[in-house]
């Protein structure tokens, strides 16, 4: 803020202002320290898992099957995490974007909009374990599905929908009003305007939001304990493409323990001599995925912005 070429207003006159300058220096130092401290913690966490997983992570750990007697691998669990992520996103992204379109383009201030907004906030603040319990009654018991990937994905959808809707709404609202006015002035209907002008311009923001929420879904465990199950799969036969067969890894109607749930269950059951290594290795994989999702969101968002606005 200070410009060195101008004569600085003299604060050195009174003793009190000398004190104020000193306090300012100390406060600035403390706030810098807060920033450095948080970075240091993050670096320490990443370093810790890099070291802890050094002897564990290998191709056979990432893709191999779990074993009761040796280190084994987490292949089926990683597969389940990816499978659940895709299933959840297939349901929650379209629904979230549609809800976001309503909130950004159609909603007028009033009781209904206020209720939707309240519901959005309420769902985001419900603890994920409670969302999991709701899934336990609704999908496991009432619907009689038992523990299934679909039940888990629906629980994750509940947890992801308000965030997806919010992010889409923000991305859509960020589109300048002139773009809409221009389209409407050419005689386009409101929906044509949304479809051909507003949504395409909001896509970079929406895609960034999707990738960031994907990271959250990938690591979620509490909502899945009682919906997708805790059983450790022995291994999958990927040649079995019959999605009605609960043994097929492609079927949504089968229990699907994910990597995040596996960290918790191996640890709480305490089975085998390799709990520590398995959990360290799995945590490192989850952490790496978080880093990849974050980096991906940034790069993809930037790339799309460039492509869509340079045209």
């Amino acid at each position: 803020m200070t410009t060195s070429s101008l004569p600085r207003p003299s604060l050195r006159g009174a003793a009190s202002s000398r004190r104020a300058v000193l306090v300012d220096k100390i406060a600035t130092g403390v706030l810098w320290a807060a920033g450095a401290f948080v970075l240091l913690i993050l670096a320490a966490i990443i370093l810790h898992f890099a070291i802890a997983s050094a002897g564990v992570i290998s191709l056979s750990f990432i893709f191999g099957n779990p074993s009761a007697t040796s280190l084994g691998g987490v292949g089926p669990l990683l597969w389940n995490s990816v499978y659940m992520l895709v299933l959840t996103m297939l349901i929650s992204v379209p629904l979230g974007i549609l809800a976001g379109i309503y909130m950004s383009e159609y909603a007028r201030e009033g009781r209904v909009t206020n209720a939707i907004r309240f519901a959005e906030e309420a769902i985001s603040s419900v603890p994920s374990i409670v969302v999991g319990l709701f899934g336990l009654i609704a999908f496991v018991d009432v619907a009689h599905w038992g523990f299934t990937a679909l039940g888990g994905a629906l629980a994750l959808t509940i947890f992801n929908l308000p965030l997806m809707s919010r992010l889409s709404e923000q991305a859509l609202r960020a589109v300048p009003a002139d773009e809409r006015a221009g389209s409407l002035a050419l005689g386009a209907t409101k929906w044509q305007t949304i479809q051909h002008v507003v949504v395409p311009l909001a896509i970079p923001g929406i895609v960034t939001g999707v990738i960031l929420t994907a990271g959250r879904v990938f690591g979620e465990a509490a909502a899945l304990l009682f919906t997708a199950g805790l059983s450790t799969p022995a291994g999958y036969n990927f040649a079995n493409l019959n999605i009605a067969d609960p043994r097929s890894p492609w079927s949504p109607f089968r229990p699907a323990t994910t990597l995040a749930v596996y960290i918790w269950s191996t640890n709480s059951e305490g089975l085998g001599n390799y709990v520590q290594q398995i959990a360290d290795g799995s945590s490192a994989i989850l952490l790496a995925m978080v880093l990849i999702f974050n980096l991906g969101a940034r790069l993809f968002g930037r790339m799309l912005t460039r492509r869509l606005t340079a045209a």
Partner: protein, 312 residues
């Protein structure tokens, strides 16, 4: 814009609207998508409330008997008592301490990011905060279990941390998890303070810290409180990370070095070991209902803090 010229469906002025336009299917579809969120809340509340009151309806337990510190859910030792005070006290205690640890650091970080940090520091810290949000809670829990708990046991057993599993361990793990939440919301509140106010204050000859203390902190107060309530919401509802480090002992703790338990921890631990329909299981659903009501209470509190700000 290419999207305007390539669409090719814009046909000029039309004096009348067609039936299809009056029906406006797209509007109805997006409206239903948005309404589905209200549907989810209503159905979720109904199901959890229905299960949550079974303890009183089917189990013939009086609501007043929950106000006890004795948690004796199995009939191995005479009277069965579903005292829930240890869990509620645990959730309140672990949340309060987590906020006490996290809020000063988070607000300091938000001030640093908004007022002091040069551009390079911001481009490093903002992705760092996003990564903090993204780290799964089981990973935080595992880190607490393998690093924090043994460290407390080995170095602070003289201070009472004989097990390591403790109120303090739970709160410390939570404080890290809510740090990005509080920081980003507070940061937004500080950024929303008009630049003119800073300039005017500095022009009066104040130092930057005086401007922060007397202009920014009061102006951002509502935002900061909202941020803290959001952090509390996340802390009170967090299950696995807390369960892994807190010791899971159903007692009302007297020291932060003691093991204790929370509503979420107990549900996580016992839900798989109890049979649907038995009173013990019903008691867990009652805890879930309490959690749900707490979180809705927080949402309402945030609304009150934000005044009548309905849009945006």
């Amino acid at each position: 814009m290419t999207s305007l010229t390539t669409s090719g469906r814009i046909t000029g002025l039309r004096p009348t609207t067609t039936f299809r336009e009056r029906l406006d299917v797209p509007r109805r579809v997006v409206f239903v998508a948005a309404l589905s969120m209200i549907g989810i809340v209503v159905v979720m509340l109904a199901f959890i409330a229905w299960q949550g009151i079974q303890l009183f309806v089917a189990g013939h337990v009086t609501p007043a008997s929950l106000l006890s510190t004795t948690w004796q859910p199995d009939n191995t030792a005479g009277a069965v008592t579903f005292g829930m005070l240890p869990f509620v006290a645990g959730t309140v205690g672990v949340t309060a301490l987590a906020v006490l640890i996290s809020a000063p650091l988070s607000v300091g970080l938000a001030l640093f990011l908004s007022e002091i940090a040069p551009a390079w520091a911001r481009t490093v810290l903002q992705p760092a905060l996003e990564i903090f949000v993204g780290i799964p809670s089981v990973v935080y829990g595992w880190l607490g279990l393998t690093v924090l708990v043994p460290w407390l046991r080995e170095n602070l057993s003289g201070a009472g941390f004989t097990l390591g599993f403790s109120w303090f361990a739970g709160s410390l793990v939570l404080s890290l998890m809510i740090l990005p939440t509080i920081t980003t919301v507070t940061y937004d509140a500080f950024r929303a303070v008009p630049q003119d106010q800073r300039t005017a204050s500095l022009a009066l000859g104040t130092t930057r810290w005086q401007t922060i203390r007397h202009i920014l902190v009061p102006a951002g107060l509502a935002g900061t409180l909202t941020a803290i309530v959001l952090g509390m919401t996340r802390a009170a509802g967090e299950a696995l990370a807390v369960q892994m480090v807190i010791g899971n002992r159903p007692v009302v703790p007297t020291s932060i070095a003691q093991p204790m338990t929370t509503l979420t921890s107990q549900i996580t631990l016992d839900m798989g070991n109890t049979v649907f329909g038995e009173p013990w299981n019903d008691a867990l659903w009652t805890m879930a209902l309490i959690l749900l009501l707490i979180s809705i209470g927080f949402v309402i509190l945030i609304r009150v803090l934000n005044g009548r700000r309905k849009f945006q």
